[in-house]
Symmetry: C2
Subunit: 220 residues, 2 copies
DNA sequence: AAACTATTCAATAGAATAATTGATTAGTTG
DNA sequence: CAACTAATCAATTATTCTATTGAATAGTTT
């Protein structure tokens, strides 16, 4: 085989994968699917696009072998095609956060407006858990919590937080976490908690990053 | 700030980066720049595209802050904007090799035609170096070798290999390496060496991966 | 079977991308 | 300063991508 033929084939194939990821909606879908499997309608709902449009984007991801499907009744559930898909997306995300000042700025600006500017990294939290009693609240939907969560975390979906807040000890620091650095559930939670006098912070990333770092997890 | 506004901004910014990488020529350029800095003409030559086209692709990469420039006389040298750029590209490459059977197939097919089917991983080579005497040959251009190479490696650019081959001991295994898994210098070298009776293999990846794994390196 | 839900498909129009060509700008050399 | 080299720019055409709309398909429920 010619050198150039070989290179053209390889880089073309790789570009196809990258192209499949090169759309804001599709990146958001990949981030969502890192939590588990979701139907087309759920994905459309979460990402604020129409069902038909979500379906089309999902076709693109499937074509590129980044996601897999599973039919259940008249729903089709999509999930990531493997951990390497999430790792690639995470590498791109880290690159963006590191290189593009505008992204960092938008995150800061958003968290400022939510009073959740001060965050903990996964390593910091893991260290702190060893040294003191600390309340960790997983504010994702229960279904996602059940598929896996930080060891020892309580599950209070952000919608239920106002009513269940009195279950939390007031004398401990509370750390809320959710899906990842761009997920706003934890920011909402921190805002609610701080307004009620809790010493609350959010984890700067989310469950998938915790899991990939091989930190302690549990499943329900 | 609205949740949706926030997400739209962040994912749009990230998609811009990914879009900048979503082209076969630009991926090949990034892989090349992992070796050090190159002028536009050199990049065009290495990747078999015209100067004007290379320049345009480089503008796209620069716009996305993936590469930086440095002028020297009437040449402009391009280099990666940081290690996180290479890491992201590597994550995408690993994803492709793992998920897309077609890529694996093309690599196998090419190496078969070059008699370099049997390869060593970086870890395997590092282990082997401790246990036995082994000849490691860096077959990249001297300039790239000088900027950094595997500790203890000899530099024989692939074009000089035929004439300098008698410098190599015939009683040791020879491992050739170059820029990365898609670089063909090492395959050319292994073919030449085996035809002359050497016990030669190639490293399956290249210098950048060796360096990122924090294995021992030297600079000239 | 009819009504309903979830998903996919097909067609469209507007926007973005890519390679080519030739012109232009910046810098060097004789 | 004229001739040359390296890089960029501008204009063009063909291609691909995107969101929207409405229709078609697959499966469930009554």
């Amino acid at each position: 085989m010619e050198k150039r033929t070989f290179k053209n084939k390889v880089y073309q194939q790789l570009a196809n994968i990258v192209k499949a990821m090169s759309n804001p909606h599709r990146l958001e879908i990949l981030e969502l699917l890192a939590q588990g499997q979701f139907s087309v309608a759920e994905i459309a709902e979460e990402t604020d696009i129409t069902g038909a449009n979500a379906s089309q984007h999902l076709q693109v991801l499937k074509q590129a072998q980044l996601v897999e499907t599973q039919r259940d009744g008249n729903r089709v559930y999509y999930q990531l095609a493997g951990q390497s898909v999430y790792k690639a997306w995470k590498a791109l995300r880290d690159l963006g956060i590191e290189r593009i000042a505008e992204i960092e700025r938008v995150i800061q600006q958003f968290r400022e407006s939510r009073q959740s500017l001060e965050t903990l990294s996964s390593d910091q939290l893991a260290e702190k858990m060893k040294q003191e009693d600390i309340t960790i609240v997983d504010v994702r939907p229960q279904q996602e919590f059940d598929e896996g969560h930080i060891a020892g975390a309580l599950n209070i979906p952000v919608g239920d937080l106002s009513e269940k807040m009195d279950e939390l000890p007031k004398d401990q620091e509370v750390v809320a976490y959710c899906r990842g650095p761009f997920c706003v559930f934890a920011d909402d939670a921190v805002e609610l908690l701080r307004n009620k006098g809790f010493n609350a912070k959010r984890l700067d990333e989310g469950y998938p990053e915790w899991m990939i770092e091989q930190l302690p997890i549990e499943q329900s």
